[in-house]
Amino acid sequence: MADLESAYPVPAGRADRPGGPPEDWEAPRERWLSTAVRPAFGPRSVLLEVATRLLTPAILTFSVFLLVSGHDRPGGGFAGGLVASMAYVLRYIAGGRHELAAGIPMQPNRLLALGLLLAGGTASAPLLFGRPVLEVVSYTAVLPLFGKVKFASYLLFESGVFLIVVGLVLSVVAALGARMEAEEYEARERGGAWGPEEGGAA
């Protein structure tokens, strides 16, 4: 895609915004994201791309923090999953669908499947030992650096929730955002005008 997209010169100024600054005035000259960037909305923005580049690891780390700290502090698998998917949504907004595709660890459907498997497996594992469904097993260890750390099976369950939430958001984004964007792109390439919708988002 990279060569193809860069092969198209970005037109200076847009038909629906006459008189404005040229479209690429804030476009970065360096490569900040992992693919040739074609943002979901409007022109490229150096601010957005740099922020995305810097924030994505932090957001993902924060989401894991929410996941593991959920038992004692606000957070948990659901909130963590939402935060993690936010990182991908940000990446999508900044870099477009190819950036999203390059960034996600696996297909959303697989995330969903993995999450269900994890949660269902954790739920049913106690059955194998003749225990009731979803019984929590925990083990507390004292680690040199971290101090007292508790490993409990609900963390696995919460990880399943986490994955499912990420999968849900990604598949919705892929469906509603990326898919439509792809169509718009096709339509633009074919010379069709998109009419008033662009204005609605701008």
Binding site: G76, A79, L82, N109, G120, V136, F157, A178, R179, E186
Partner: protein, 970 residues
């Protein structure tokens, strides 16, 4: 082991009925059997293990068939062979009246269990299902070619079918019977549709499934009613102690008979059987001659001892059976295709069997067992003969076959004998059975039906037998005779092993005919508790000069005359008015269901979000709202006191947040531009989150803030596809109604919340959660509840989430496979002109496809072409996959339009005026589309569910859709 099966099998059917004399000592010699049998005598009930063996053998068959080719069918024949051998080892005890039983608990509290009981009737059916099954598996090894498509699946499903059928005829529990019964329907569906690239095969398979499984559902209702009335779901208990009569018993019996008639192809449900002849011939021989279609006969015969005297039973069984016998025989005479001739002959014989099995008298019971065995052996032999003819010569059309009798003498002799058995000629078992059948309806000889009824039945039977004789003769003549008008075809001789199967089956027909005493104990074993006539009846070739013998003479004479004057008969048949085709009725029914479903969908699923919301709100106001109002008026619901407990706020900040919430709410409602409305809406959501924070619920607030953020972003995606402003509604009654409804709903919610929080009567469940949370080792109570106390709820919720994710993706991506550009292909730089050229070409293609579907080919908004056009345009796109930008499919554009229009604005008119022609149910499936723009119907837009799936080409789930939903990853 395979060799043992092959060699052992042809002789096995001949052995089948001998153990009655052998008293179960020596099994037929054969490596495997010898090792298994001693164990069987020690362990009386192996049936559950044998059933499991069928499933176990089915699993490795597909890869084995890929490796070994059709020879793997010999392995597939092992389970039926084991089953047959086992059953015959049991035969002496069973015939003596000691049924073999076994029980595997399933759901004992519900009366559902895998209970098995093998008595004389079951034994006779096992002989057919497993004995003939084993022979047919061996035949398959010679019939199929190496590398035939889907052969592994065919083998596996055939074994599964064999197991399911064995379950049907041996189980003693109504529910287990139903489960096995439907398993045979499903496996039959797969077998009939074996050649799934042929539309005819798919259609016939669906038709067979709809008919047999649909009537099977009726039968299930009947079973439940019967079992409920008797308080016992075991068949033997039900028959031994039938529930008292009454209208409900009649209804139950009618429903059960409907299932049996559907399965056994009785008029007017017989149409599926000839249609199912698209299956490979061994499958037809097995399913549609020996085993599956006998299921209905079996059920009728099984229940007859208990219910034959109930209202309607006898008349239904005798009436439908006789009608089927005559219609099937008459239509068999018309057929040119040998297989279809046999199929209609089978229909006729099934009618015969049903009336014998249902008559419920001793002689009829004896005759039923004899005919059951006779039909199984002669009809499967004839089918296998047709299979050989088709396999060697490439045709089975009477008008193109000649001289086969000279060139395949062994086969011709065997088939002629089998046909003679079908025609009821001595000394074959068909004659023995037919004599008994005629005897059963000699007026005055049997306790039922009455003399007039018997006379009518006897006349009908004689007519049916004449037709049977005539089509049997036509079969032999058509298949083997020298015809001067037909040129001879060259073909290779069939191998000896190939011919062995029909020869062996015919040998059994002959053996049983010459020694009917072999089958007699079995028949007596079944019939002994049925009401007897004046004297006992035994199967025999010679009963003296009796009325049945004279009638047989008449049948032979008249049948022979009919065959000799066949040209006159066929002229007569052509001159007869065509009676209404039963298949036509089926199509009418199916189309009726489609059109009712369509009209219901169209009326209830208008596609307008305001209407949906309105209905939901109105229901809420009507049901709980009215109850609340009534409670308030009667004083039943206490209004919490305003003084004392009533606080306006806990902290003044709440007032501030509430003010923000109220102001943004009002502003949202008054906003006419979509984007600002969305922003206001999310501000509203953040305000609510603020309230949570103030109330000390940071978890809730965190989650809500995250959800609000994400929702806003996702809605922005959608909004980009919608007009900037909402459409302005006229100030009419509709607007007033909306305002009124919304205001009432809001009031109701507020009021209900206020009253509910004050209406607590019991201690809240959350008391003690804090201590428990300590015990569980966590400080965050909300999370402990979610992940521990109520984890099962959470599990359910994430399943819903996952389902919703898949559903949303499928809804949006519906009909647009490969919409997202393939990354690898896109990496190749494509010149702009080339791309334009390609897409133009594809557009042409798409256009022509769309035009073919009689839909407007122009692109753009407001077009919603029929689904057929969309799908085919999608295929058109696939042809140009590899270009960065696929052409705009005729169907794709507007679909997104419609879906996007739904959640975003809710103005269906914006989604396009749904120029989309909706499929007419009356159209032939596949090209169901009205030409030109249909009348604008705003309601119809996203209602994809309104599309009927009449065409099997569209129904299978497309794997590409799932691939596509992940947005073209590299």
């Amino acid at each position: 082991m395979r060799a043992a099966t092959l060699e052992g099998t042809p002789s096995r059917p001949a052995d089948l009925l001998r153990p009655a004399r052998r008293t179960g000592t020596a099994p037929p010699p054969g490596g495997r059997c010898a090792s298994v049998l001693p164990m069987m005598i020690d362990v009386p009930m192996l049936l559950p293990a044998i059933l499991a063996l069928h499933a176990v053998v089915a699993v490795p068959l597909p890869p084995l068939v890929r490796r070994l080719g059709p020879r793997a069918f010999l392995l597939a024949g092992v389970p039926p062979a084991v089953s047959a051998v086992w059953a015959l080892a049991q035969a002496p005890a069973i015939v003596a009246g000691r049924a073999a039983t076994a029980e595997v608990a399933w759901a004992p509290a519900l009366g559902i269990g895998l209970n098995f009981r093998v008595d004389a009737l079951s034994l006779a059916m096992i002989v057919l299902v497993s004995g003939i099954g084993a022979v047919i598996f061996c035949y398959c090894a010679a019939y199929f070619h190496h590398g035939e498509r889907g052969l592994g699946r065919l083998a596996a499903v055939l074994v599964l079918f064999s197991g399911a059928m064995l379950g049907v005829v041996t189980t003693d529990n109504l529910f287990a019977l139903y489960v096995f019964w439907e398993l045979t329907s499903v496996t039959s569906f797969l077998l009939v549709g074996h050649d799934d690239r042929k539309e005819q095969a798919r259609r016939a398979a669906t038709q067979a499934l709809v008919t047999t499984a649909g009537t099977g559902l009726l039968m299930l209702i009947g079973f439940v009613m019967l079992g409920h009335a008797a308080g016992d779901y075991s068949i033997s208990g039900l028959v031994a102690d039938p529930p008292d009569g009454g209208p409900w018993l009649t209804v139950a019996l009618v429903l059960v008979l409907a299932g049996a008639f559907g399965k056994s192809a009785q008029v007017p449900l017989h149409f599926w059987l000839p249609g199912a002849m698209v299956a490979p011939t061994p499958v037809s021989a097995y399913l549609h001659a020996a085993a599956m279609v006998k299921g209905g006969v079996y059920l009728v015969a099984r229940l007859a001892p208990g219910f034959a005297d109930a209202d309607l039973w006898r008349w239904l069984v005798l009436g439908f059976g006789l009608a089927t016998m005559l219609v099937g025989g008459w239509r068999a005479l018309r057929q040119d295709d040998l297989k279809l001739l046999l199929a209609y002959g089978t229909v006729s014989q099934l009618g015969f069997l049903v009336l014998l099995g249902g008559a419920g008298t001793q002689v009829a019971g004896v005759a039923m067992i004899a005919m059951l065995l006779a039909h199984g052996f002669f009809k499967s032999a004839l089918f296998l003969t047709v299979g050989i003819i088709d396999h060697q010569t490439g045709t089975r059309s009477i008008s193109r076959l000649t001289g086969l009798g000279r060139r395949m003498p062994v086969l011709a002799v065997a088939a002629t004998l089998a046909a003679a058995s079908m025609a009821g000629l001595p000394p074959l078992v068909g004659f023995v059975g037919k004599e008994a059948a005629l005897e059963a309806f000699v007026p005055g000889a049997a306790p039922a039906p009455g003399p007039e009824g018997s006379a009518v039945m006897l006349t009908g039977l004689v007519l049916g037998s004449i037709l049977t004789f005539a089509y049997s003769a036509r079969f032999v003549w058509g298949a083997f005779a020298d015809k001067s008008t037909v040129s001879e075809r060259g073909f290779r001789r069939p191998s000896a092993a190939f011919v062995a199967a029909p020869v062996a089956l015919t040998a059994v027909s002959l053996g049983l005919g010459l020694a009917p005493a072999l089958a007699d104990p079995l028949a007596q074993g079944y019939a002994h508790d049925l009401p007897a006539g004046h004297h006992a009846y035994h199967l025999s070739l010679w009963h003296g000069i009796t009325l049945p013998l004279l009638l047989t003479g008449l049948v032979i004479a008249a049948g022979a005359l009919m065959f000799v004057r066949r040209r006159a008969v066929s002229r007569l048949q052509n001159r007869m008015p065509r009676w209404p085709d039963a298949e036509y009725g089926y199509h009418l029914f199916v189309h009726g269901v489609y059109s009712v479903a369509l009209s219901v969908t169209r009326r209830t699923q208008s596609g307008s979000l305001p209407v949906y919301l309105g209905i939901i709100l109105a229901t809420m106001l009507l049901l709980p709202g009215a109850r609340l109002a009534a409670g308030l008026i009667t004083g039943e619901i206490a209004v919490p006191g305003v003084q004392g407990a009533f606080r306006l706020w806990d902290s003044p900040l709440e007032l501030l947040v509430a003010a923000v919430v109220v102001v943004t709410t009002i502003a949202t409602v008054r906003e006419h531009r979509r984007f600002p409305a969305l922003i206001l809406l999310s501000v509203l959501g953040f305000g609510i989150a603020g309230l949570f924070v103030l109330h000390g619920a940071p978890d809730l607030a965190l989650t809500l803030v995250l959800v609000e953020t994400l929702t806003t972003i996702i809605l922005v995606f959608v909004l980009r596809r919608l007009p900037t402003t909402f459409s302005v509604r006229p100030n009419g009654w509709a607007k007033r109604l909306t305002v009124l409804l919304c205001a009432a709903a809001g009031t109701f919610i507020a009021l209900a919340l206020w009253l509910m929080t004050a209406a607590r009567t019991d201690a809240p469940i959350s008391q003690g959660y804090t201590e428990r949370a300590d015990e569980a080792g966590g400080d965050n109570l909300v999370n402990i509840i979610l992940a521990d106390f109520r984890a099962l709820d959470t599990l359910g919720e994430i399943v819903v989430l996952a389902t919703a994710a898949v559903a949303v993706a499928s809804l949006v991506l519906l009909n647009r496979r490969n919409r997202v550009v393939d990354e690898p292909a896109a990496e190749v730089a494509v010149e702009a002109e080339e791309e334009a050229r390609l897409s133009a070409a594809a557009e042409e293609h798409a256009d022509s496809v769309a035009a073919h579907a009689a839909a407007e080919p122009a692109l753009g908004q407001g077009q919603a072409p029929a689904r057929g056009a969309g799908a085919e345009a999608g295929e058109a796109e696939m042809t140009v996959r590899g270009t960065a930008a696929g052409p705009e499919g005729a169907g794709g554009e507007s679909r997104a339009e419609a879906v996007g229009g739904g959640p975003g604005g809710g103005e269906p008119a914006e989604g396009g005026p749904a120029g989309g022609p909706r499929p007419r149910p009356a159209d032939a499936p596949g090209d169901a589309a009205d030409p030109g723009p249909a009348p604008p119907d705003p309601g119809d837009t996203p209602a994809d569910s309104a599309d009927p799936p009449p065409d099997p080409r569209e129904t299978p789930a497309d794997p590409d859709d799932h691939e596509g939903s992940d947005d073209g990853r590299p």
